[in-house]
């Protein structure tokens, strides 16, 4: 495992830089986008009141000062108090994070468990009915907008077939429709990519050699194909997790799922800077952690990567 520690160290430094950049961009964009104070007060509030609230929130300070305070505080895990909820932003976001993780991880696991076998089978039975059918479904999954799929699922599987609740969070049945909605795109992308990665490997010389020495097809796939096809699959899987976080915004709204995606959108409308900053920071952190994990898996899968 020589070279593995510097490899990790380099990844950590990159992750920290990415986090700092994300926080800074959010800080600047939110401040460019408008003043939260008129939204907090009644429309007929006097100017003195507006000035007072602005002072209370620290918005009367010059931007560099606000930025300095902001950076110092996030190093202490403090994102300030939510302007809208009047409680610490971190605890607001924490209240929503569980729901998003539950939905996101379910969708992610579901997508992977369904898509990888389908992609593999499609590749092995290339040009069969199964291949054509599953790739057609994947194409739909990849191109149908999330809100459309969500509403369609509600109307068909909930209202008409009466299988699942229409919306809200509750037991496992509440999770099925939003998880499939959210996972659809990832599922389709992973299935298509798995298929092409496996096809590419199946065409390689060493597979022909394996077949030529009389190995069974199952053994060829299990021993030689999967591991070699894994790198692009792991890559797309890691990237899809980011798409899932983005898709959560729409899915959570359609299914009134109390997660951070919905919180982020509402907080943007409310100009609730601290909550937006905290939500984006945590989403970025999740994404970075996942990609960090993907990098580690690469290193384990392919010794050539950690050598570089």
């Amino acid at each position: 495992m020589r070279g593995f520690l510097p490899f990790i160290g380099q990844r950590i430094v990159r992750a920290l830089i990415a986090l700092w950049l994300v926080s800074t961009v959010v800080f600047v964009v939110m401040r460019l986008s408008g003043d939260p104070v008129p939204l907090l007060l009644p429309p007929d509030a006097p100017t003195s009141e507006i000035l007072r609230v602005r002072r209370d929130l620290g918005l009367d300070q010059p931007l560099p000062v606000q930025y300095g305070v902001f950076l110092r505080n996030i190093l202490h895990g403090d994102f300030g108090r939510s302007i809208h909820f009047r409680e610490p932003a971190v605890s607001v976001v924490r209240g929503y994070l569980g729901a998003t993780l539950e939905l996101g991880l379910t969708a992610f696991v579901l997508a992977t468990l369904v898509a990888v076998p389908i992609g593999l089978l499609s590749a092995m039975k290339r040009n069969s009915l199964l291949d054509h059918a599953s790739m057609a479904v994947a194409l739909i999954g990849q191109s149908a907008p999330t809100f459309f799929l969500g509403i369609l699922f509600i109307l068909l599987l909930s209202l008409k077939a009466d299988l699942f609740p229409t919306s809200g969070r509750g037991d496992w049945r509440n999770l099925v429709l939003p998880a499939f909605t959210l996972g659809a795109f990832a599922m389709a992308s992973i299935a298509r990519l798995t298929r092409s990665a496996v096809l590419e490997v199946l065409g390689a010389d060493y597979i022909r050699t394996a077949r030529a020495k009389g190995m069974s097809e199952m053994w060829v796939v299990a021993k030689h194909t999967l591991k070699n096809a894994a790198i692009p699959i792991v890559t797309i899987t890691g990237l899809q997790f980011g798409t899932l976080l983005g898709g959560a915004v729409v899915t959570e709204t359609v299914f009134s799922w109390p997660g951070i995606g919905r919180l982020a959108v509402q907080s943007i409308y409310n100009r609730d800077y601290p909550v937006v900053q905290c939500t984006v920071f945590i989403a970025a952190l999740l994404f970075i952690l996942i990609n960090f994990a993907v990098d580690l898996v690469y290193g384990l899968l392919d010794p050539r990567i950690r050598a570089h």
């Binding site: 008129p38 009141e49 459309f148 209202l159 009466d162 809200g168 709204t253 109390p258 919905r262």
Partner: protein
């Protein structure tokens, strides 16, 4: 044609729901002990003095009681006060209900009333309702069940003010012992429901107050859910997951009425949807131009096409249902020919006139803007429609920097023109872009008079001045529609109070 996301959704819903229907006839009675309601957004705050948002007041008017109560019939009824009367010109005396207990068991008394009303305008409290009781000079509590309120000048509308927001009575002792943050997190009121638990953006659980002075409500528990998208909200109703949904747009009503177990119930909004006018900006400073703009709007078509008939064409700045509404006035006229002539007479030279529209700040605002712009182009107005976001609208409203016209939904808070036309168009009001000395004199005189006949004359004259100057262009007085199961007997309140007290809500039992 370019489809918006919402239009696409609606088309999908239309197709799939009609496929799903008709279903077997559902029972029109129920044994339910739990009322489930879905609204379009979640609650932000429980402390009734810190929010006037409709999603919040639907709950806070049920957790808390006011001294007086405006029922869905528009009249004032006793609340925590059993009777009240004017003593002289500027003193109101209230008799309080005896034996009322707060949800935590503390007894209710006049001290709660005094501290609660004083809290609204206490500068150090920074409430959202600081301007509601500005007419009050001082409050006396001669005994635990009497409250005497002295106003600075005669205030004929004090009992009406007490019925609306800001007027919810909060517990002095509990509030002082736990502080405002805990009070907001664990509210204690005297109302028909008690707070149990709340998961943000998911569900609020309330339970019936068995000792409520107005009788225990007709359920054991009440669940308030937030379902922001319309199509899933309607689906939740049709599937029976919730009993009542709020904010049902006209284009979704067929789904509710076509279903055998659900129905529609609407209340004519206590207020108007208007285009505010920045009358300081040429050419909108010319009354003839504004008259022409009004004459060029085919409001009948807007009501019929965009609202599917769920609204009425306004005739005046006073909303139908309010004091002094003049039923003899005709609906605002549509006459494009006359509009062209007045534009000519005004010397209009094709200057740009802007509509700064929001999307869904008021229902259908963008669609109405586009329709109106087309009507104005027909008479030769050079109109530009620009879309602005809520926070930009809020900022422009505060800075009074609108470029031309914008959407607003003036609410009649008191069932009286003083609580709408004069509250909003008076100097310093949020629509203060136009002044007329006579209008101002009449508005002030009516505000401080307890002479009913005199007030009626003032408002008649103000209406006349208004209709020549159009500081607003009233467009529609819409219905606010709700979807409900047929086993629910409930009447919506025009002023957005979600009234579930015994007199207004019951489940139809077998």
């Amino acid at each position: 044609m370019k489809l918006t996301r919402r239009e696409l959704l609606e088309a999908v819903v239309a197709g799939a729901v009609s496929a799903a229907l008709p279903r077997s006839a559902h029972a029109q009675t129920t044994q339910k002990r739990e009322l489930a309601v879905a609204q379009g957004g979640d609650i932000a705050k429980f402390d009734p003095h810190f929010s006037t948002a409709s999603n919040d007041v639907r709950v806070s008017f049920n957790l808390f009681d006011n001294l007086t109560s405006r029922h869905p019939d528009g009249k004032l009824y006793p609340g925590l006060a059993t009777e009240w009367g004017l003593q002289g010109q500027s003193t109101w005396a209230f008799k309080l209900r005896q034996g009322v207990k707060w949800h935590n068991g503390d007894p209710f008394s006049s001290a709660d009333v005094k501290s609660s009303i004083e809290r609204t305008y206490d500068a150090s409290m920074k409430t959202m309702v600081a301007t509601v009781f500005t007419t009050i000079d001082r409050i006396e509590t001669p005994d635990p069940f009497s409250v005497v309120i002295h106003t600075k000048k005669p205030d004929p509308l004090l009992p009406a003010r007490l019925a609306f927001y800001g007027g919810q009575i909060v517990p002095k002792k509990y509030l002082e012992s736990v502080g405002p943050d805990t009070f907001n997190a664990k509210p204690v009121g005297t109302g028909p429901v008690r707070f149990v638990s709340w998961v943000k953006d998911d569900r609020l659980v309330l339970e019936a107050n068995p000792d409520y002075w107005g009788g225990k409500p007709d359920f054991d528990r009440m669940i308030m859910r937030a379902i922001p998208e319309t199509a899933p909200r309607v689906a939740a109703l049709l599937k029976g997951e919730v009993d009542i949904i709020t904010q049902l747009p006209p284009d979704q009503e067929d789904r509710v009425t076509a279903n055998s177990s659900t129905r529609l119930s609407g209340a004519l909004y206590a207020g108007l949807y208007v285009l505010g006018v920045n009358s300081k900006r040429p050419p909108l400073d010319n009354p003839l131009v504004k008259q022409a703009l009004s004459l060029a709007i085919d409001r009948e078509a807007i009501v019929k096409e965009l609202w599917r008939g769920r609204g009425i064409v306004p005739s005046q700045p006073i909303s139908k249902g309010d004091n002094y509404f003049d039923p003899s006035l005709p609906p605002l006229a549509y006459n494009p020919k006359e509009a062209r002539e007045r534009l000519k007479k005004a010397g209009y030279k094709g200057e740009e006139i802007y509509i700064e529209t929001t999307i869904a700040y008021v229902a259908q605002d963008k669609a109405m803007s586009e329709a109106i712009a087309a009507m104005w182009k027909d008479v030769g107005v050079n109109v530009k429609v620009e879309v602005i976001e809520y926070s930009v609208r809020a900022q422009k409203s505060r800075e009074k920097s609108f470029k031309g016209l914008w959407w607003g939904d003036p609410t009649s808070t008191l069932g009286d023109p003083d609580g709408m036309m004069w509250r909003l168009l008076a100097p310093g009001g949020i629509y203060d872009y136009w002044r007329d000395p006579k209008f101002d004199e009449l508005g002030n005189a009516a505000r401080f008079s307890v002479d009913d006949k005199f007030r009626g004359e003032c408002y008649r004259d103000m209406t006349k001045i208004f209709l020549e100057n159009f500081p607003w262009l009233p467009i529609i007085q819409p219905y606010e529609d709700y979807g409900l199961h047929k086993y629910v007997e409930w009447t919506p309140n025009p002023n957005q109070q979600f009234e579930i007290r015994r007199f207004n809500f019951k489940f139809r039992r077998a």
